[in-house]
């Protein structure tokens, strides 16, 4: 009896195996990253690693095109009242949440109310001064503001505004459950290890910059955490992983051998820049700040360290962000000019026997320590002795603020290679409007200019306001752009993977992806 059963089962298994070899196999894509998401609740985290997962599970009312301009998505159209305080959105019909319930105005209200609720979103202030959300009918919703907010529409295209279905009422929301309307639904999150997502067969692409109008082609997307870069590369080579950030030093060899494709994200919004402790000497003097800017050559440094993988960025808001214009910014920028730097330092009383002493803060990773050494050597040539201190980004954020808040510290003021990524020039408001993210440079004139970038809504007029701020920040050498992109923007992709796209602001999109062969 036993033998018979085996005989019957045998051919069946063979048949099943054969069938799976004929292109009907479930397609599973593995994407490995250096770290895990912090939370699947879009109101409980701010890291890029988290946002990249939210993008797959949730969708947004608006969507960015490849250039970073917001356009219709789940909201097919909107109207802004005369006074600029009321936004009425018309929602697309027929969108379904992953649990099968229809997505409508109640879900929008649920999301926004939640962001402003008892345990508000970590990015609540970025929503704008919202005072109320009103469901007009199932497919239209009205948002009211207490004052005009120019960054509102771009925010609605960013993952921070991911629309959370109103069925997400369980305590497990964000850790083991997450219901959205995005191209993939959550199957399982093994924290620290992997997030397993399944294709959402009901998905309709309403505004993402990809060709596929509907559900993803792949059946499963596994987002795995592999912290060690060499391990990621090995896993890419064995085929265990399809997409991952490679170790930087191996990129030229990978490009040469051609066994993996190298894809570089564009319009990431990541700006790496100089900024200074302005509360005490030497950088309370504009000439010292300008001397650093004139005395360093970012183009040469990035050519050496990143060999063509990143770009010189002249603007305080990076490529992809509204207001970014290389030509406009360059006219207020600081081209490499060691003589000019020395002249400014001489005016301040520094010279060959009396160099300017300072410390440069740099954050860890991405070969930035090498970049800092090049800048250090360039600065030494003009008479600036800059010690280098390397620390992780969170510590650097805190230390920079502490520096600014210690005007009586007897040691010379520091400067730092700082970075921010944001989808809108509103980042300049957050950094430089008093009290400012770092308690750094601030004054009433700049505050007034920054306020206007918020209260001006019409894009043409807003551009003027934003450019006025850019000009001010650059002329005063407050925020001096160096390069963009700045971190985790290079992807190595296995050759059988087709259609992998990285949307603006470093948001990979998987709906076009197919695995060949």
């Amino acid at each position: 009896m036993r033998t018979t059963r085996k005989r019957i089962l045998g051919p069946a298994l063979v048949a099943a195996t054969l069938a799976s070899g004929h292109g009907v196999a479930a397609q599973e894509l593995v994407w490995a990253r250096y770290g895990d998401a912090d939370s699947l609740d879009p109101h409980r985290a701010t890291s890029t690693l988290s946002m990249q997962v939210w993008d797959q599970i949730y969708d947004t009312l608006l969507a960015f095109d490849m250039e970073g301009t917001p356009g219709p998505n789940m909201a097919t159209s909107w109207e802004v009242s005369e006074d600029g305080l009321e936004y009425t959105f018309a929602l697309a019909d027929g969108i379904l949440c992953h649990d099968g319930t229809p997505f409508d105005a109640n879900d929008v209200k649920f999301t926004i109310d939640r962001a402003f609720g008892d345990n508000p979103s970590l990015t609540r202030t970025s929503w704008g001064p919202i005072t109320g959300v009103e469901v007009l009918d199932p497919l239209s919703v009205k948002v009211t503001m207490s004052s005009k907010f120019g960054a509102f529409l771009p925010f609605l295209a960013d993952s921070f505004s991911s629309m959370v279905c109103d069925t997400n009422t369980a305590d497990t929301f964000g850790s083991s459950t997450a219901i959205g309307t995005g191209p993939f639904s959550l199957v399982e999150w093994v924290k620290g290890d992997q997030i397993v997502l399944a294709k959402n067969p009901e998905f309709t692409n309403l505004g993402d910059p990809v060709d596929n109008p509907g559900a993803p082609y792949i059946d499963t997307l596994i987002i795995r955490t592999v912290p060690e870069p060499q391990t990621r590369l090995a896993a890419l080579r064995t085929g265990e992983v399809h997409i991952a950030e490679p170790p930087f030093d191996d990129v030229p060899a990978i490009q040469q051998s051609g066994d993996l494709d190298i894809i570089v994200a564009e319009n990431t919004g990541q700006d790496v820049f100089w900024e200074f402790t302005v509360s005490r000497p030497p950088f309370d003097d504009i000439r010292a700040r300008q001397a650093v800017a004139y005395g360093t050559d970012p183009q040469m440094a990035i050519d050496i360290i990143y060999s063509g993988l990143t770009n010189r960025e002249w603007c305080p808001v990076a490529r992809g962000v509204f207001g970014n214009d290389q030509e406009f910014c360059e006219q207020y920028g600081y081209p490499y000019d060691p003589d000019k730097a020395m002249e400014l330092l001489a005016e301040m009383g520094y010279g060959p026997d009396n160099p300017l002493e300072t410390t440069m803060f740099v954050w860890t990773g991405g070969n930035r320590h090498k970049l800092a050494e090049i800048f250090q050597a360039q600065l030494a040539q003009v008479g600036i002795n800059a010690a280098i201190e390397i620390m992780d980004i969170g510590t650097m954020n805190a230390r920079v603020k502490e520096q600014n808040e210690s005007p009586d510290d007897p040691s010379p003021g520091t400067f730092d290679m700082m970075t921010w990524s944001w989808y809108d020039p509103d980042i300049l408001y957050q950094l430089w409007h008093s009290p400012g993210a770092y308690s750094g440079f601030q004054n009433a004139e700049l505050d007034a200019m920054l306020e206007e970038t918020r209260t001006t809504i019409e894009p043409g007029a807003r551009l003027e306001k934003v450019q006025a701020v850019i000009k001010y920040l650059m002329e005063n050498a407050v925020h001096v752009g160096l390069y963009s992109p700045g971190w985790e923007w290079v992807f190595a992709v296995r050759p059988e993977v087709e259609g992998f796209k990285i949307g603006p602001f470093l948001h990979p999109i998987f709906t076009d992806v197919k695995i060949e062969g």
Partner: protein, 306 residues
């Protein structure tokens, strides 16, 4: 025996108690304002920071903070993580089985490989076998874990394709366990060799040989058994080494245990999680050494009564 166990447990408790003090002080040893550093990557207002400071009790004097901490500890509360806002105890307990599987497998590998190599080297003392085994041991002791790990990964996963690079199933346990096990086998090999050399020179071994017992019986029943005693006593320490090594090895092989969690916590400046990890680690190591001590005493009655 009961009194012996009680004594050992008491010693372990003292160790853990010292760890609780270290853990409380830790947060104040880091330069800068801990609350600001923890929340450095978040958008926070000064009011929010003050609220967090109060919630974590960091606005209180240190001795109060310590009592507060002990009070919560007594209720099994290790606090909540900054990243993801989850109970620290839950996070640690979810991840610990993976680390335990890794360290125990490595221990088996270390014992089997290390002791065979050491025994062989002692037995063939002065020959090329001895020299070769000891050269291997020196290499093993000096090679950093992550480097040995990457070499094994390159050979077995990339070149030969026998094993996966990373993942969650039993097959992906082999490479990290081998890395950790081999590095510690080197230490054990050296210890076994010197212990066995002492034994081989003892009178009772010579007597056993002289009375005509077969060589295998002499080696196994007389020499190896006596040689084992000091080596077994070292296993507790070995386990502590393995737990420490797991931090690095788990990171290389993306093995999802508490070691990797610790590294993630350090990078995220998640102090409650780092504190929880240190305390947990100290507890596991202290308990492991109690178990080894008790087992040892059970095997060798002289220990109990001395």
């Amino acid at each position: 025996m009961a009194r012996f166990i009680a004594q050992r447990l008491l010693a372990a408790l003292v160790t853990i108690w010292i760890a609780t003090i270290a853990v409380t002080l830790l947060i104040h040893l880091v330069p800068g304002d801990p609350v600001r550093i923890m929340y450095g990557s978040f958008q926070t207002t000064p009011e929010q920071l003050e609220e967090i400071r109060q919630r974590l009790g960091l606005d209180q004097p240190i001795w109060k903070q310590y009592l507060y901490y002990l009070g919560r500890l007594a209720q099994g509360d290790l606090g909540r993580s900054i990243v993801g806002d989850q109970p620290v105890a839950d996070i640690l307990l979810t991840r610990f089985p993976a680390t335990l599987a890794l360290t125990l497998t490595s221990l088996v590998i270390a014992v089997v490989v290390g002791m065979s190599l050491g025994f062989l080297a002692a037995y063939k003392r002065g020959t090329w076998v001895d020299a070769g085994a000891m050269v291997l041991a020196v290499i093993g002791v000096s090679m950093p874990h992550f480097w040995l790990g990457l070499l094994l990964l390159f050979l077995f996963a990339l070149q030969l394709g026998w094993l996966p690079v990373a993942g969650g199933d039993w097959k992906s346990l082999i490479l990290p366990a081998l890395t950790l096990g081999l590095a510690n086998a080197a230490v054990l090999a050296r210890m076994t060799r010197s212990a066995m050399i002492d034994i081989f020179d003892q009178d009772f071994v010579r007597t056993a040989r002289a009375k005509g017992l077969p060589r295998a019986v002499v080696l196994y029943r007389h020499a190896l058994r006596s040689g084992l005693v000091p080596i077994v006593s070292m296993l507790g320490l070995q386990f502590a080494y393995l737990m420490g090594g797991a931090i690095v090895v788990e990171n290389v092989f993306a093995w999802n245990g508490v070691g990797r969690l610790a590294i993630q916590a350090v990078f995220a400046r998640d102090y409650p999680l780092i504190q929880g990890f240190i305390l947990f680690f100290a507890t596991v190591v202290a308990l492991a050494s109690v178990i080894v001590d008790v087992a040892y005493a059970f095997l060798d009655p002289r220990i109990r009564y001395s």
